[in-house]
């Protein structure tokens, strides 16, 4: 048999090549199968959810007669139909699948309806007659703080003596600033299809970042054991954190109805229902008090964060922990207090979203830095450099992790030059002096983002590799593909381990029956952990093949080499396929698992100290904007980014993460506004009212470069995680806007996020009123 080494495999190495996404040819032809595109089993029922219309109320009575009478309707289910636990809260059991007696937000599932078509189900779901006894609702974080309404206890992290440091500081700046949330707005809404199997088994196709959790939550809710459920996800049409914990809700509803009707059931949320029913990025109210000297060095700082968690804990604990861990960003804070309130509000339970609290923490400290610069009338760039972590001193974070991989100075030094920051800043100030209506602004901000789940036990991954007799490979691991390019990266790693073309590898769906107990594909950890696990699995098989070849050809194992689709054993040379066939005939196992746990990390949450992060990823961005002082409208003119990917596994994929993350972050801080009315109803629940960036919002001049300077830690091919960190490069856009609307370098516009035209007009008119 001939072996054709893929033409894609240049230099006998797939790792580091800018290969296209493994599904690109399927995406562009419409042949990529998403959960709703799977063949529908005979008898499939389509579900819709009846939602609470009140933010906080007791259910006095519920009449679903009209629902059941709707043509096409087959069945309904309510809380009483749940055989197991009526909960899908991943950490705290406070997330009912269906509200029983109490509803806690507008949009909370109260019942589900199954019908022969999605149309019928959706029509019927609107007809539930629920009699509510309304209770007082808490609709914003500050009210929650005032009333002591929390989903989890407030946390405090202190280092040094911030009170004394503040008292002794020659300069102080204090502020309260609000920071909006963000809807994930994955293009594919939440969806799951549950198909009953023989002997009480259940097969669930779910659009989820966490098949294992869907499996265990569906098991708890349906009264099954994990062994009786298989969850499969080949790909998601975007997730961004939104399908980390809350995909379980959708899958559980489908499972409960499948059990009740003994028929396959599919629940695909309509866009509006998805946005109303499922959680988003936490909005924050940030208070700070910072003391500094005349060089701009921070002497003491006191942060207080109030985060809207919504009606339940969901992932709010670790999200807010991460906000606390990132309100240093790249800066050394000697005397610091961070108070974090996890506010319980009668709104949807907020959840993971790319950055996972990190963006909110960084937003806080970058605002402080800007305020210090403006108080002193200095270029914020100077203040940033003045406060950066040191290499050998001033290098311990508030949570006592030593920053030993710091490259922020190198990144800044290069980007300041590459972006021509200083000349442009001077030119912009000249332009502004002469321009009545349009003003420009520029800002350069850093990113230092900690990589690892802060819950140490989550930092583990598994893989399963099967080599078949024809020398081709099926690759399974616990990671999920949401568009981030994880699957092609891991396949590149495995291709290199076997020294075969990547076209010899088929990338399999995430499947809980192939790889059990996998953590969520989250925290940017996907390729770090699954890449290592898959590499180990491949290495195990390769070692067996090596041992066999050595034995067969009577050479030492050191003389066996895999290279370019072939294997040499001293003077013998044969194709990988030939070796595989011979090994199989010699009864060598060609299937292996691999397992990886992130080393070195340890962290004591009770004291907020230790090493929660294996390493840090760094980056910086310079953004220039133009703002209309009369209308508040704004536009990015140019963005320059330099971002640290370690030694990139796939520069094209990494570039895509950086560009996409930046633009998504800019959306969060500019056009994307979540708006609730006084009745607790979300007014922005569809793309007609919730505005994510479009094509024309992209900077006409957009320059992105990868900083490929390796990783001192032993990560997969010394690469670095890149999923979340680039999102926070967007802080430069927000501060460029603030720079543009400032009357001069000493004025302190009171700009809140998102910087919509309205927020900008308020900041400008506020300054005029003073």
């Amino acid at each position: 048999m001939d072996v054709n080494v893929s033409s894609k495999l240049k230099h006998n190495r797939a790792v580091g090549e800018a290969l296209p996404h493994d599904s690109a040819h399927l995406h562009v032809t419409g042949r990529a199968t998403y959960t709703d595109d799977l063949p529908e089993p005979r008898g499939l029922l389509h579900l819709a959810v009846g939602m609470s219309q009140k933010p906080h109320a007791n259910i006095r009575a519920m009449d679903l007669t009209e629902v059941l009478a709707t043509p096409g309707v087959v069945d309904i289910c309510v809380a009483a139909d749940i055989a197991g636990d009526n909960n899908y809260g991943p950490i705290v059991a406070d997330d009912p699948v269906f509200a029983d007696e109490l509803v806690q937000y507008v949009g909370q599932p109260v019942f589900a309806v199954a019908a022969t078509s999605a149309d019928s189900a959706r029509k019927a779901a609107r007809k539930g007659a629920i009699d509510y006894e309304e209770l007082e609702a808490i609709l914003d974080p500050l009210t929650a703080v005032a009333k002591g309404s929390f989903v989890l206890p407030s946390e405090t992290l202190v280092r040094g003596d911030p009170d004394k440091a503040l008292e002794n500081s020659p300069y102080r700046v204090q502020r309260q600033v609000s920071l909006g949330g963000q809807d994930q707005f994955y293009l594919e809404g939440h969806i799951a299809m549950a198909i009953p199997q023989e002997d009480g088994g259940l097969l669930i196709y779910s659009s989820t970042q966490h098949p294992d959790e869907v499996q265990s939550m569906a098991a708890h809710a349906t009264g099954r054991a994990a062994k009786d459920i298989v969850v499969i996800c080949r790909r998601m049409g975007g997730a961004f954190g939104g399908k980390e914990s809350q995909a379980a809700l959708i899958a559980i509803i489908a499972s409960i109805m499948a059990d009740k009707t003994s028929r396959p059931c599919k629940l695909r949320l309509d866009r509006d229902d998805d946005m109303i029913m499922t959680g988003k990025r936490h909005d924050f109210v940030i208070d700070y008090d910072a003391g500094f000297d005349d060089t701009g060095r921070i002497l003491g700082i006191d942060f207080e964060f109030a985060a809207r968690c919504g009606m339940s804990a969901d992932l709010s604990g670790p999200v807010n922990d991460r906000a606390m861990f990132h309100c240093d960003n790249a800066y050394y804070l000697s005397n610091v207090r961070i108070v974090s309130h996890r506010c319980k509000t009668n709104t949807v339970s907020n959840t993971a979203f790319r950055g996972f609290g990190g963006p909110q923490g960084m937003f806080a400290i970058e605002y402080v830095i800007e305020d210090i610069a403006r108080t002193l009338g200095k270029d914020p760039l100077e203040i940033r450099r003045r406060n950066f972590y040191g290499k050998d001193a001033r290098n311990v974070t508030p949570y006592r992790q030593t920053v030993d991989d710091n490259i922020i100075d190198e990144i800044f030094d290069k980007l300041v030059v590459d972006s021509d920051y200083e000349n442009r800043r001077t030119e912009i100030r000249k332009f502004n002096a002469a321009s009545k209506v349009l003003r420009r602004g520029i800002s350069m901000t850093p990113v230092k983002f900690g990589i690892s789940f802060t819950n140490t036990f989550l930092n583990q991954a598994g893989a399963l590799i099967n080599v078949y007799k024809d020398g081709t490979v099926q690759l399974n691991h616990g990671g999920t593909e949401m568009g981030q390019g994880l699957y092609v990266k891991v396949a590149q790693v495995v291709a290199d381990e076997f020294q075969i073309g990547i076209d010899r590898i088929r990338i399999m769906a995430a499947d809980t029956s192939r790889v059990p107990n996998a953590s969520a594909t989250a925290a940017s950890s996907g390729s770090d952990m699954n890449g290592k696990a898959a590499q180990k699995a491949a290495a195990t098989i390769r070692a067996r093949l090596t041992e066999f070849a050595a034995r067969h050809f009577s050479v030492s194992e050191a003389e066996v080499n895999f290279h370019g689709g072939r294997v040499s054993a001293a003077d013998h040379s044969l194709s990988f396929v030939e070796l595989v066939q011979m090994a199989w005939a010699d009864r060598v196992s060609l299937s292996a698992t691999g397992y990886y746990k992130t080393p070195k990390i340890n962290y004591d949450r009770s004291t907020f100290s230790g090493r929660p992060f294996f390493y840090f990823a760094y980056g910086a961005a310079v953004t220039e904007v133009v703002v209309d002082r009369l209308t508040g409208e704004n536009r990015i003119l140019r963005a320059d980014i330099l971002h640290d990917c370690g030694d990139s596994l796939n520069p094209a994929v990494d570039l895509g993460q950086i560009e996409g993350g930046y633009v998504q972050g800019v959306g969060w801080l500019t056009t994307e506004e979540l708006w609730w009315n006084e009745a607790g109803e979300l007014g922005t629940h569809s793309p007609s009212t919730y505005k994510i960036p479009t094509c024309s919002d992209l900077a006409p001049d957009f320059r992105v470069e990868l900083m490929q300077s390796g990783n001192p830690e032993n990560t997969i091919y010394r690469s670095k995680a890149v999923g979340e960190p680039p999102l926070m490069l967007c802080l430069s856009a927000f501060h460029a806007i603030r720079d543009a609307i400032a009357e001069n370098d000493r004025s302190l516009p009171d700009l809140h996020a998102p910087a919509t035209p309205e927020a900008i007009l308020r900041a400008i008119s506020g300054a005029a009123d003073e």
């Binding site: 690109a24 419409g30 293009l187 209506v437 560009e659 998504q664 994510i692 094509c695």
Partner: protein
Amino acid sequence: MATSSIRFVLDGEVIEVDNVDPTRTVLQFLREDLRRKGTKEGCAEGDCGACTVVVAEVNRDDLSLKAVNSCIQFLPTIDGKELITVESLSPPGSKLHPVQRAMVQQHGSQCGFCTPGFVMSLFALYKSNASPSRQDIDDALAGNLCRCTGYRPIIAAAESMYSEANGDSHADWLRQPAGAQQKPSDRVARLTSLARSDGLEIEHAGRRFYAPLDIDSLARLYARNSDATILAGGTDVGLWVTKQHRDLETVIYTGRVAELNALSVSSTHIEAGAAVTFTDVMPVIVGEYPGLDELFRRFASPPIRNAATLGGNIANGSPIGDSMAALMVVGASLVLRSGSATRELPLDAFYHDYQVNDLAPGEFLVSVRIPVSDPNAIVRSQKWSKRFDQDISAVCTAYCLELDGNTVKHFRMACGGLAPVVKRAAKCEQALTGKPWNEKSIEQACIALAADFSPISDMRASADIRLRAVQNLLRRFFHETEGNVDTTVYSYGRQR
């Protein structure tokens, strides 16, 4: 004669669909009936573009290809047309279409869910513009949302797709039956053969869909069924079905009525039939009134403008409709018909209150008469929203200013987003008329604006800021006329 079947072309074959549900969407038909799963649903309201398909029609003996949102197009509206979906572009086993190849080469997909929609919008661009500028690309993709890439690689694909054709630029790469010709002339002939001599009448489960061909038939039908829903582009009525789950008993589609699809320009006015799409009418209006260019560029998105009609925008009468303020200040009027009676009404007299207008039962909009421009008048419109492209105005303004020296001879101003209807700013107009055109008068006019409007707070803007915005927009208009600013932030960004 009622029929229950429609005919259209798909992949070179005539498809006849029997027993058509009048409000079944093209997307539902593709995904649920044909199991063509390439076209995706992202929002079911025409705002995300994941469902974009291309519809071909014969227009003056040529094929006109337009991207539309299949999620809100009712299936009977494609009767007699050709439907092109992402599956049509690269038949199994064939090479990828240049558009698709460019998207792969440029890493234009990540999660891939929006990708089929982008491919179809790019395909429409590919077929209509041989060397698009960045502005053309932005405009062509304004109706497609991507949450992963940040758009840079998609723009790169739009720029490189022409070179991916490798000189084979005439090939269509469209799926066809074996041996079939795909020359445009054959496709024109095939579509021409589907043309109906009589209007389409569908009955399905007690619900009716009529697509009359001439205005007299329309008048008769509507007189008989005055409770019918008039359907034009479907970009609003579609949502009544997909979002509000309303059952529309009787639908009368104006898209086939010849007189309502007429567009003409005389020495005195533009006459635009009520069913003329924005794509067709915009260039004519902007040609006459260049100051309305940015408004219309920002009006919805290409797939929406390809379906939505000027008449629909006016008759629907949303307080945040974008065309009415501009048409009011230039003195547009409406031609209305009921039975055989026709009357003409100034647009600014048409709206009485929120969703209440001057139409009598059975009366419908025939055309919009837009006077040609007065060389002495400055006409300008401003749209104020969170996002540049495809956003709904929080405030929309329009001005028509005529100066005599430095004195305001005539001043008309109309606003959307500030009241239950789009309306003239009467007190503001009065405050300025006859006054010197200077900052002091403008400040007086701003005070008058606060008496003209009592806006509300909603998800688009708060009441106080809406008022401040409209005052600032007026100030900005003044600065523009004084030469203090010659561009908006949007065009400023594009000049660099």
